[in-house]
């Protein structure tokens, strides 16, 4: 797994930051936590180069550092976060999500933040300056990003390696309690307390200005800018994109679209609004198993009035909300559940189940496309009934045994179906063993993700190759006389340019879709 991930990460870094940063990051990826000295020695780059690269990587939230005392010296260790690199491929998706949530202008500002990794308000405002944008409008655009929490303030801790942060917090706590080594149970308890504290702290940060822990240095700056009408515009405050929150938005939208495909646009709207009611409280995709319950009456009031909820046989003016909610509950996907009876029924979206459904449907579609109807049926049978042998599969699926067997092995090779052997005798002889087939979403998720990393890296590689092959042409295109129209490309060159553009577009399009698939598999 890590091999394919590393390869993809390096390809992304090369694309976004060039070969030297890629080299430094590569060194960190291969070696793990390292000091500057080690990196310089290994990479055969100058200390200055390495330091600058590290600076860029920290600026873009991919590398964190930790100071640790070794004897009398302080040694700084750098560590790279591979997921922070991999998600860079999904920038277009995040930008789209921001546009939907906060509007076009905000998206432009958000893009600026992505470009800089971290940015302060003056920088963003300067970039947003354009005809017809007043200062207040710019502030609003920025406020929208903060309110949606797709952008959050950077904290000094963000650059410190999480593991080291944990260790030092723990050490400090232990020292405070007298410095005696703690027992395992005490340690777990302590860790839990610390985790709780951190959570609360995070909450504070995310809501913007209210912070429970304030570092000395910042306290001073805070006082200094108190005169400033808006603390968020403080030039000493830097902001970064909050991908966890963006994943929440993207996931919720994916769930709504699932309902839409399953039933109709009205059902999609019902699920969308059911989710949006508590969306602001969801910090990432893993925490909540269900969305917060919303009453049917409350839900009716926030639904888009332009989307009707048609139900057969109901009188005109009848609210179809309850019918839609109950139909969604009745559906096999089980996206919606009823939590209680109050307020005409309290409903929530089963987030955990929905995430599984999203992955399962993706796999089902892979099975369908690759192996056809019979295989898809067999895959679904295994999903429903768990472990079955060949003949059972063939009976349920109503396909010839030969076809069933063929499908099963094909899916097995693709990591979409698995065999469990149950030996009848102690010697595990194959002749006296039952072979049971099953599918497993978690297992296939890993397999499919692995293949997708491979494919995505291939797509990138191919794109680079296509562009390299036309290096001369591209060079010619960027000549000033061509740009200024003094000279022209020959007909065949023009055709080649067009072809290259088409090929690159096709590759980039597939890359984004592949990256989206990886997001569903890895983040939802």
């Amino acid at each position: 797994m890590s091999g394919e991930k590393d390869r993809l990460a390096k390809a992304i870094l090369l694309e976004h930051f060039g070969p030297i940063v890629q080299k430094v990051a590569g060194g960190l990826l291969e070696r793990g936590r390292s000091t500057l000295v080690v990196l310089v020695r290994r990479l055969e780059l100058s200390a200055k180069q390495v330091r600058e690269c590290l600076f860029i990587l920290i600026q873009h939230n991919m590398v964190t550092y930790a100071e640790s005392a070794e004897g009398s010296r302080m040694v700084v260790y750098y560590q790279i976060n591979i997921n922070a690199i991999l998600l860079r491929d999904r920038f277009p998706l995040y930008m789209k999500a921001v546009r939907q949530k906060c509007g076009e202008e905000s998206q432009r500002m958000f893009t600026e933040i992505l470009r800089h990794g971290r940015a302060n308000y003056p920088l963003l405002a300067a970039n947003a300056q354009g005809p017809g944008m007043t200062r207040d409008q710019i502030a609003d655009v920025f406020k929208a990003l903060l309110d949606a929490r797709v952008v959050v303030e950077c904290r000094p801790q963000d650059s410190v390696t999480a593991e080291d942060q944990l260790m030092s917090e723990e050490a400090a706590e232990v020292a405070r309690r007298g410095g005696l080594p703690l027992t395992a149970t005490e340690m777990t308890k302590l860790r839990r307390e610390l985790a709780l504290k951190r959570d609360q702290y995070d909450d504070g940060v995310e809501t913007g200005s209210k912070r429970k822990v304030v570092l000395d240095l910042e306290e001073i700056t805070n006082k200094k800018v108190a005169v400033n009408e808006d603390p968020e515009q403080d030039p000493d405050k830097y902001y970064r994109a909050n991908f966890a929150k963006l994943h929440v938005f993207l996931r919720n939208e994916a769930i709504a679209r699932l309902a839409e495909r399953r039933m109709n646009a009205s059902a999609g709207e019902v699920v969308r609004k059911l989710l949006s009611a508590s969306e602001h409280k969801m910090r990432d995709c893993g925490t909540e198993a269900k969305s917060e319950p919303v009453s049917q009456i409350m839900l009716s009031s926030i639904l888009d009035p332009n989307i009707p909820l048609p139900v057969d046989g109901r009188p005109p003016g009848f609210s179809g909300t309850l019918d839609y909610l109950e139909s969604l509950m009745q559906d096999d996907l089980k996206l919606v559940t009823k939590e209680s009876e109050g307020g005409g029924g309290q409903f929530s979206v089963n987030l955990k189940q929905a995430a599984i459904e999203l992955k399962a449907r993706m796999m089902e579609s892979v099975v369908q496309e690759k192996f056809g109807d019979a295989a898809r049926r067999i895959w679904r049978i295994l999903l429903l009934m768990q472990k079955l042998n060949e003949t059972q599969v063939n009976k349920f699926a109503l396909v010839p045994l030969k076809t069933a067997r063929h499908c099963l092995y094909a899916m097995h090779n693709a990591g979409l179906a698995f065999i469990q052997d149950v030996p009848k005798t102690l010697d595990h002889s194959a002749a006296r063993t039952f072979f049971l087939w099953y599918v497993s979403i978690p297992k296939s998720t890993t397999q499919l993700a692995q293949s997708a990393y491979h494919a995505l890296a291939n797509l990138k590689r191919r794109r680079a190759t296509e562009i390299e092959a036309r290096a001369l042409l591209i060079e010619k295109m960027s000549r000033t006389d061509i740009i200024e129209g003094d000279a022209q490309l020959s007909e065949s060159e023009a055709a080649a340019v067009e072809n290259l553009n088409r090929v690159v577009d096709q590759l980039v399009g597939s890359e984004i879709r592949m990256a989206e698939m990886l997001m569903v598999l890895e983040e939802f």
Binding site: R261, R262, M263, N264, A265, S266, A267, P310, V311, D312, G313, R314, D323, E326, S327, M329, Q330, L333, T337, K338, Q353, I356, R361, M362, E364, S365, V366, Q368, E369, K370, R376, R377, R380, L384, M385, Q386, F396, A397, L398, V399, P400, I441, P442, L448, S451, A452, A455, A457, N458, L459, R461, R462, T465, E466, Q506, L507, S510, R513, M514, E516
Partner: protein
């Protein structure tokens, strides 16, 4: 002819034998020696056995063992059968008896030979003879088509052997199944969505979705097929559609006391299970519940919930046969691979 033959044969019996035969005939399931003694005053075991042997050799009576006790008992042969086997040689009779015992499940030729105790060659000729006389026949079971299985000529092979309605000449008739399930699906679609308003749904309490027996009726009336189908066959077809993800099933409200709310809570039960696998277990149980009767209504699924395009199978690597060998810098690699070339050229 058989009547005359049986009269002749009957005539050849002694009075004692006739008395004895009458008693045996009165017990179509077989009778043991004790029971016979009760009905025949003054006969001892020996008398009965001697006459019984005579009857047996004249093809009127078969010996058998009774139930678990393994007691010796006797059973009369029908007149027709007596005439059929009457002219047989001993070895033919052995084979005949084994084939007959196997009923419509048939007996595998190898077992037939082994159990008959006859020499292979002899057994082969005997079997051929009986086949020629249209007394026995062979069929190929669907599950093990290489095994010849013998049964009496007049019997219809069991569904176990033929595979049932879905098999034609020992092959699963895929065209037939596909066509029929398409028709059934169309019928369900028709019943699943309101016609009047576009994109409307039926309220959740709607209960006019078809059940397995409704669909069975529909097929029988429609004349879609001349193959006689039972409700279980239709059920298998519906299950297939369900596994296809084309239809879903809804518990008939009547089957659970008609309270839709109750149904909701039933479904809720399994929502809280933490284990991922468990989320699907109840699906499996619902499938097994099926035998309990006509409790499900079938409703077409509007969308399969699949994306129209799939990022993975769309790109060459998703369909690549040499993916395992593909490495940057290796002989198969993304820079020179022809799958990419074709793909990029194609669109």
């Amino acid at each position: 002819m058989s009547k005359r033959a049986s009269k002749q044969a009957q005539a050849a019996l002694t009075t004692e034998e006739q008395t004895l035969l009458a008693i045996v005939k009165a017990h179509p399931k077989g009778v043991d020696i004790e029971d016979i003694k009760i009905q025949l005053d003054g006969w001892n075991d020996n008398d009965i056995l001697t006459h019984m042997n005579q009857l047996s050799s004249k093809q009127y009576v078969d010996f058998m063992t009774l139930g678990k006790t393994g007691k010796l008992a006797f059973k009369a042969r029908s007149a027709e059968e007596a005439s059929k086997t009457g002219g047989m040689k001993d070895e033919e009779r052995v084979i005949y008896r084994l084939v007959k015992e196997a009923k419509n499940s048939g007996i595998w030729i190898k077992q037939l030979k082994d159990r008959s105790g006859l020499h292979t060659q002899l057994a082969n000729t005997v079997i051929k003879n009986l086949e020629k006389k249209n007394i026995i026949k062979w069929v190929k079971p669907v599950k093990t088509p290489h095994k010849k299985v013998y049964m009496l000529f007049e019997l219809d092979p069991s569904t176990e052997l033929t595979g049932g309605a879905w098999y034609t000449d020992n092959e699963m008739d895929m065209d037939f199944i596909e066509q029929l399930s398409t028709q059934v699906y169309k019928y369900i679609v028709m019943k699943s969505f309101p016609q009047k308003v576009k994109d409307a749904i039926y309220p959740p309490s709607h209960s006019a979705y078809p059940s397995a027996s409704d669909i069975h009726k529909f097929i029988s009336k429609s004349g879609l097929t001349t193959v006689p189908l039972g409700v279980p066959d239709v059920q298998a077809l519906l299950d297939r559609l369900y596994y296809d993800g084309k239809v879903t099933r809804i518990l008939k409200t009547g089957a659970r006391g008609g309270d839709p709310d109750r149904m909701d809570t039933d479904f809720d039960d399994d929502e809280d299970e933490d284990e991922f696998d468990d989320d699907f277990r109840d699906g499996g149980e619902r499938v097994r519940d099926l035998d309990k009767g006509d409790v499900w209504m079938y409703k077409a699924v509007k969308g399969s919930a699949l994306e129209e395009r799939n990022a993975w199978t769309e790109v060459p690597c998703g369909r690549c046969p040499v993916r395992e060998f593909c490495k940057e810098g290796g002989p198969v690699n993304p820079s020179n691979c022809r799958y990419f070339k074709d793909w990029l050229a194609a669109s």
